[in-house]
């Protein structure tokens, strides 16, 4: 009896974001045969017209939790709010189409601030071919809240899911890892933001680049077996692919795309750049798998189409769990944890292993 009562008092912080998603998934009615992808994925895929899938995703940004008004301009906030949704459509290989913008604002919000927010939203969405077609404006008792729903489309055979990775596949990632977390820490700790290293990681945090064309290039090759965007962190998001595909993975520390600027910022902040790359999250890079013999050509195609670097960071293996191989050949297991939205603290990044 006592344990039942204790269980009923469980909070969302106890259960964690993914525990809560699983619980909700179990409670609600299952999808019908028009739902190609439903609860549990970042983006829903719906069969609404023959051969094409309608994609739909949403992401919320709450003041004090996802951003602080003293750290981000309204134009940057607009771009960021759009980018994190564009990234979810990118992870399906899709083309963004229409956005709904839901905004809750305290009464004292300046109109000029709202103007700039929408300019940022419009700039980022427009750069990827999406239009704002509606939404909702509302008052808020205290905090600014921005929730965007973004729709998109993808030809049915091109949809990339999380559950197709196979043992032997290569693991690839676009762009650079760890910078967003380092940028956030730099802002929170008041690091001198005028150095090139700090400026780069702060920009990566405030206005991440959604890899829309990169996702389309990967999907167009038809060789990839799974794809996801890195919002929770490489380890956590690779963990999603592994658990959904019933496989494990091996990552090579030296292959992780960590920029010199990220190393410098990490050193100044007293954190390990590899840890930031593994667990930082909010980088909004694409992580995908493909047969090993197609890895090089796939990476080359994406680079040719977009100019964005692609790194081969490891391989999919039988079994479960993620292993990290360091330069001295030692192997350690990597917890598939990242930025859990209900965690009280961020899971304690280790100091640099110097």
């Amino acid at each position: 009896m006592t344990s039942a009562r204790v269980a009923a008092r469980q909070t969302v912080a106890d259960l964690g974001e993914f525990g809560l998603i699983d619980r909700i998934k179990g409670m609600l009615p299952r999808g019908n045969d028009r739902v190609a992808l439903g609860i549990g994925d970042d983006t829903a895929a719906l069969k609404t017209s023959p051969g094409m899938l309608l994609l739909a995703t949403c992401d919320i940004q709450v003041e004090g939790r996802h951003f602080r008004l003293e750290h981000i301009s309204p134009h940057q906030l607009g771009r960021r709010s759009a980018a994190i949704n564009l990234s979810d459509i990118a992870a399906m290989g899709g083309s963004p189409t229409y956005a709904l913008v839901s905004l809750a604002l305290p009464q004292t919000t300046e109109v000029a601030w709202v103007d700039e927010l929408y300019r940022g939203l419009g700039d980022e969405l427009g750069a990827h071919g999406a239009l704002v077609v509606g939404g909702n404006l509302s008052g808020s008792a205290r905090d600014v809240v921005i929730d965007i729903t973004l729709m998109g489309e993808v030809a049915e055979p091109l949809l990339l899911r999380r559950d197709g990775a196979r043992s032997g596949d290569a693991v690839l990632v676009t762009g650079w890892l760890g910078e967003s977390l380092l940028g956030r820490l730099a802002l929170e700790r008041g690091l001198d933001s005028t150095t090139p290293a700090a400026a780069r990681v702060i920009e990566a945090h405030l206005t991440p680049t959604p890899r829309v064309r990169e996702g389309q290039a990967v999907a167009a090759r038809k060789g990839a077996t799974a794809m996801i965007d890195i919002s929770d962190g490489l380890a956590a998001d690779l963990g999603h692919i592994c658990s959904d595909s019933n496989v494990g993975a091996r990552l090579v520390a030296g292959a992780l795309p960590v920029s010199p600027e990220a190393r410098e910022a990490a050193a100044n902040l007293g954190v390990d750049a590899i840890e930031a790359a593994l667990h930082g999250g909010e980088d909004y890079e694409l992580l995908f798998t493909c047969p090993a013999d197609e890895a090089e050509r796939t990476a080359a195609d994406v680079v040719a189409a977009t100019g964005t670097p692609v790194a081969r960071v490891g391989e999919i293996v039988r079994g479960e769990g993620i292993e990290l191989v360091t330069s001295d050949g030692s192997r350690s297991s990597v917890e598939p944890r990242g930025w859990d939205h209900f965690a009280t603290v961020e899971g304690g990044l280790k100091p640099p292993s110097t």
Copy 2:
């Protein structure tokens, strides 16, 4: 110079919800030819497959602004959050299909509370044929935020807009008006909630009934010229139809559907029941216009299909503005104001005109 600076300091409360929507509409790129209805309407209508329109709407509920946790159970809050979105699809004559649920929760939120919220959401959406297919879970620094995006569909020829009302049309409304505001006031002022009158208006406020089948019945007749749901208040929402259709309207006070319970609750609260019906808002009834000679049959069809009463409350006239005719034949102009989401106070409902 000074005036430009003052203008730049203008707040969203100064501009108001609709002023802000107009401003945003002017700033963002216009829709393409696939956008049948874009910014400015509660629901976007998009041509995604031949003959059918994809409908998409979103509505946010922020703790402290739209609800207080001490007044509403999580099951009721789930039902309410779903209902206000279902109402927007209903106003297009559409069928709800898929929902995305975006939730921001403080870490201390109990899992049992979240369970009940989703049960309420699922119950209300399921009753109208819609499925939750995705969404987003996030932490919140302080307040609970629930933002739902609801999709739906309607055959292209059946879409009902706001801009088709013509002089001579009858003005009709489903159900009952003013109860939601009275319910909110009853809760805020701690009115004895056990009397049948108080219980009814409080229920109308906490769990409004979206008129989905009613909207479909109106659309199926193909005779209606304009439709909207009453979220801002009869006067404000009729004002939207009038300004979009370039017409005016005349309302008959004695024809407004005010229940005996609403009259009793209004008397106990010291407010005018007719004022509440005109300006209260959040009733989520449907307001529509149709040629005068079809009004009776249209109303009868809706009643036959759904059991919901339909009242003929006035007529569309040339010119602009809304006029109210009272039982003694006197005419007064009605301000098209309602519940403005950025207004500091609610616009001062008059005491009863006894």
